[in-house]
Amino acid sequence: MEDEYVLSVKEISKNFGVVQALTDVSVNFKRGEVHGLIGENGSGKSTLASIITGVYRADQGIMKLNGETYQPSSLIDAGKKGIAMIVQEMGTISGITAAANIFPGKENMFSRMGIVNKRKMEQEARKILDRIGASHIHAETVVDEYSFENRKIIEIARAVQEELQILIVDETTTALSQQGRDILYQLIKQLKKDDKTIIFISHDLDELTKYCDTVTVLRDGRYVCDLHKEEISPDKMRQLMVGRDMQDDYYRIDYKKPPKTKAVLSVDSLTGKRLKSICLDLRKGEILGIGGLTDCGMHELGRMIFGIDRPDSGKVYTGEGRIEITNPRMAIRHKIGYVSKNRDQESIMRLSNIRDNICLPSYDKLKKKFYISRKAENDLAERESQRLQVKMSSLDQLCIQLSGGNKQKVALAKWLGNESDILILDCPTRGIDVGVKAAIYQLMEQYIKDGKSIIMISEELPELIGMSDRIIILKEGIISGEFKRDPKLSESDIIKYMI
């Protein structure tokens, strides 16, 4: 009975001090299947993956690999036994070649008398890269010259070695473009054919529906159930993850045409990195969605509108007085806020606590002459973190300890506290679980009901279609299409204008 399972974990429990991350979780993984693992932030799925790959040791429970007891002492130990993982963050080592990154710790395979035969290593690396369909990556190039995405692909190549039995993909796809994802999907299909197992951790429910044979749902550190083949659907998964019925109004449900209001932000012939003479207006009370392929220039557009990057030519205006925006301070003074897609480096200060992060742009509002009272700071931070229901132990908690969704809430709380009238959100729900996603959508809807405006830059078409009043599509730096909010609008209508 146990032979058909390549890996089975039984009654695994793990706590980190006060936090009980996993309680009595048992899951069985079959050979040659794509097995999804889903759950909200805090459900324990990353902890489980870490235990399987030897990063943590379970407090209770046992694991069996191919029927034999399995207790890895480290990542490398797990690797030797055939279990590898690719993650969301940067996993390649800067400063060395792609080949060196593919064979870390295994240089002995190519060395004679202590000298490594670089040519041979590069040759073998090239073979692996070709095998996974990444021939555009050169084994002898230093990885720093490659984009984040290509470096991720090199990580994939590292994972796909001879002894691989189980590949764990931990939320990797969120940071990849379509091309990168395709390489990954190809790989998954190939591994499946070779009778290997893939454990797929992702928040992208459509992706999971498409590729998984089985999906295990975790909630609050406990096993909920398994879904098999036909049972797998985004709605079902959402429902099980959150534990309550997700109402239909996940996205906005209103479709009435908003009255033609005045423009609160105007972009006039903006030209610069990747962008060619972009003109657009943001109207009061609307959500303007901006979409396209990853490299179409929409992220750069967001930065330029907020004043972070200087355009080569063109201007950005706001408000009645047609004031030109040239840097972030100015934008903020005119009640504009910006949430970068690069959450950890750009939208929050990881090493500061929640209070400092929320109060940061609002010190002018809080101060009396030169004095900023603790009380004023606490009141503001308390009010905004309550409004967004940030899950935290206290305002003194460091942001680095928060989950992705809560970090995003803090970033939004910051601008709400500053009473911004215009928000520029770049990939606002990327890598965030369903529950928090819904909360952010509700927030956005309430925000525009209050007469404020949002520019939402997103790579997720369902989100753009579900939330925007108007959608502008960029392709290679120019506006290639504009769509109005419509219940009949579908992804295929839009994709034509993107590629």
Partner: protein, 322 residues
């Protein structure tokens, strides 16, 4: 989900005992232990009134130096040129005082300000890393000091000796500490400096004028070095080629012993500067009572520094040199 929900939930006001962590107490405990240790070694002389006055005189420069460089450190930067800054300002002030005594202090401050701005501008406009800039400044200014003092020393008129009084120094030190503490903890300026250290990009995108603050930090540090240079000069009666030598090292050691995170950010505190300075002062003073060979004293300071870093450095989150 209601958005305008000012919930009347129980406000979690952590009492003082929950907020203070063990790590915060280490410098304070070290200070007490070291004082006790040397009090015993010196058979009671360490904390005698006469010796306390000596300690206060000796720690004056260090306290001003560490407190004023706290802004730079909070921003995650470093200033290796402080010693040379003390030297050049002292020598310039001494030179000016021979012409006109009233202008001595303003001259010291002005010279400091100018070179401090230079440090900041080289760092920010020319994008040269801060430790490279300040190391170069250290060398350049030291050379300039030697040049101006003609290889010897520049003496100071007697009339300025009245400034070498402990009450004056205590007032100045207390004033500086109080002002720094207020700005650091309760003003927009201080909070923004810490924000730069915590996450410069995020701070910039939240409207913090990162570059201006960096220049400010270096200008402040150097100007206060001018203040130190002035007092050094009046105490010694002259300014010489080696005035201020190794001062930046003492500042760095004091900051670390006081528990200041070298990576900057929100956990920087003025008390770290003050406690650290007292520890170094007592250490130096106490070693004399212990009759430790002068040559060994530097070495011992180095070992203490190493141990302090090992105990307090937050390896997971810090970047010593950015």
């Amino acid at each position: 989900m209601t958005t305008n929900n000012l919930s009347i939930s129980v406000k979690k006001r952590h009492n003082i005992f929950e907020r203070v962590q063990l790590r915060d107490l280490i410098p304070f405990i070290s200070l007490i232990l070291i004082a006790l240790f040397f009090q015993i070694i010196s058979q009671g002389s360490l904390l005698s009134v006469r010796n306390l006055k000596l300690i206060m005189n000796q720690s004056f420069a260090l306290i001003i130096g560490t407190v004023s460089c706290s802004f730079i450190v909070a921003e995650g930067d470093v200033d290796f040129s402080m010693g040379s800054m003390v030297g050049i300002t002292a020598v310039c002030a001494a030179w000016v005082s021979q012409v006109n005594t009233i202008l001595a202090l303003p001259a010291a401050l002005a010279v400091g300000l100018i070179f401090g701005l230079a440090n900041g501008i080289l760092y920010v406009k020319f994008r040269i890393p801060s430790f490279v800039v300040t190391l170069s400044t250290l060398l350049v200014l030291r050379g300039l000091t030697i040049f101006i003092s003609g290889g010897g020393s520049v003496s100071v008129p007697f009339s300025l000796y009245i400034f070498d009084s402990l009450p004056v120094k205590i007032c100045v030190a207390v004033g500086v500490i109080a002002a720094a503490y207020f700005v650091f903890e309760y003003s927009k300026l201080g909070k923004m400096c810490k924000a730069v250290g915590s996450g410069a990009q995020a701070a910039y995108q939240s409207g913090v004028p990162v570059n201006k603050l960096r220049v400010f930090g270096y200008a402040l540090s150097a100007t206060m070095c001018g203040l130190i240079g002035f007092f050094n000069m009046v105490r010694a009666g002259s300014a010489a080629t080696n005035t201020g030598n190794f001062f930046e090292t003492d500042v760095l050691i004091a900051l670390v012993l006081g528990g200041m995170p070298l990576s900057g950010g929100a956990s920087s505190k003025i008390r770290c500067a003050v406690i650290g300075s007292l520890i170094v002062a007592i250490l130096s003073n106490g070693m004399v009572f212990w009759s430790i060979n002068e040559k060994l004293q530097q070495g011992i300071k180095g070992v203490v520094f190493l141990i302090a870093v090992w105990l307090t450095f937050d390896k997971r989150n810090a970047q010593l040199i950015k």
